[in-house]
């Protein structure tokens, strides 16, 4: 029963959504609508599960005093502070999500700078890898870097300042970049897109038919 019921649920929901696409008649469209509204609620619980799981893992680290448990304490504390302020609507009248509440204050002054700086680090790594690792080691890589050269310069105004003296407009860097994006890039991306789509269709089919059941885990 531990495996049969989930397999059955997957098959039924999957089939309902496929049938409802082709048959607009009740009851299929109504079941589909119902499932859709359920899905959003369950998806929210799935995210809550992820959050709680993170806390359990870190709580466990603290409990066992495993390496770096001090950082786990910080994770749990900062979670409790921000989640507490939000959940109990501290300092906000109607909703904690409106501008000017303490929750949003933390969002702007703690969450915001942290997330954006983590991403900003990547600029540094790209720069250093450009210098130390990106090599035209073979024909393919050379082609890649050449295209990258045109796109990198063609997509910023400086590219046009460098080439605007050329009387032929199609030799301007921005024109070349536009062309690369709209034709060779688009064509290859489409081939990749179709390939990935076929993979996803095949996975979906295997899930619905119960051939693929790795999501059920062990036992």
């Amino acid at each position: 029963m531990r495996r049969e019921i989930p397999l059955f649920i997957t098959a039924i929901t999957g089939v309902v959504f496929i049938i409802a696409y082709f048959i607009p008649h009740p009851p299929f469209n109504q079941i589909q609508d119902l499932f859709q509204t359920w899905f959003q609620i369950i998806a929210a619980f799935a995210i809550i599960l992820g959050v709680l799981n993170l806390m359990v893992v870190n709580g466990d680290k603290v409990y066992r005093r495993s390496k770096g448990w001090g950082y786990s304490v910080i994770i749990i504390l900062s979670f409790l502070v921000m989640a507490g302020i939000g959940t109990f609507k501290l300092g906000s009248k109607a909703s904690p999500l409106e501008e000017g509440t303490p929750f949003m204050y933390l969002f702007y002054n703690v969450y915001y700078p942290l997330t954006s700086t983590v991403f900003a680090l990547l600029a540094f790594f790209v720069a250093s890898a450009s210098f130390r690792a990106f090599r035209a080691r073979n024909k393919e890589a050379a082609l890649l870097l050449t295209a990258a050269f045109f796109v990198m310069l063609g997509r910023v105004p400086i590219g046009d300042y460098l080439t605007s003296w050329i009387p032929l407009k199609w030799l301007h860097l921005s024109t070349i970049a536009n062309w690369i994006m709209a034709y060779p890039n688009m064509a290859a991306q489409r081939a990749i897109m179709i390939g990935i789509a076929l993979g996803i269709i095949s996975t979906s089919l295997r899930l619905i038919l119960g051939i693929e059941r790795s999501y059920l885990g062990g036992d």
Partner: protein, 199 residues
């Protein structure tokens, strides 16, 4: 220089993350831990006030009892945290997977296969169209695994990989662009909002 304590906290945390560039250090790790905790809290509160409250509790209050099924499945999802009854969470997972599979089967077939085929079916009457058609066909051949890449097929696959490389070059350029933009945003914050040297 800013007099807003919030800006100072933000600047301090920004520098904390940036210190990773020198090397992995406790200041970075503390900032990062705060990031993980705060981010989890942010998601949590949004789930409560933007989904669970209006879409579940609100509907139940209106007497729309069939929403209770979703609530029960949702709570079953949380059983994952309790080892003994963790297997019950599979019902909810199965529901989500089934929905995703059913929808994906259709939409990927429609939007990323059929519509793309339709878009590629064009007359060979311009350089652009020829590039597109040759690129799509040879690109697909490159990812065809049921035949050895020899002869005509091998030649086509070779052309395909050139197209793919050009498109990866475009991705490369665009990714570099993205990374730089994010750094500019952060630097602008430090020098403008915090230090007040810029306007």
């Amino acid at each position: 220089m800013s007099t807003d304590i919030g800006v100072w906290i933000a600047a301090f945390l920004t520098l904390g993350i940036l210190s990773f560039l020198y090397k992995d250090n406790p200041f970075y790790k503390v900032s990062e831990s705060i990031f993980i905790g705060v981010s989890a809290a942010y998601w949590f509160v949004y789930m409560i006030y933007n989904v669970i409250e209006p879409n579940l509790l609100g509907n139940l209050q209106k007497g729309e009892w069939w929403y209770a099924v979703a609530g029960i499945l949702g709570v079953m999802m949380l059983f994952r945290l309790i080892p003994k009854i963790g297997w019950l969470s599979r019902w909810a997972v199965a529901f989500m997977i089934g929905t995703g599979a059913g929808l994906n089967f259709i939409v990927y077939l429609q939007s990323n296969v059929m519509k793309q085929i339709r878009g590629t079916l064009a007359p060979l009457n311009s350089i652009g169209n020829i590039m597109m058609i040759v690129g799509v066909i040879t690109g697909l051949i490159y990812f065809f695994f049921s035949a050895e890449h020899k002869g005509l097929l091998g030649g086509a696959a070779k052309v395909g990989i050139w197209f793919i490389m050009v498109s990866f070059g475009a991705s490369f350029g665009y990714t570099v662009m993205a990374r730089i933009s994010l750094l500019i945003g952060r630097m602008h914050f430090l020098f403008s909002d915090w230090l007040g040297l810029l306007h």
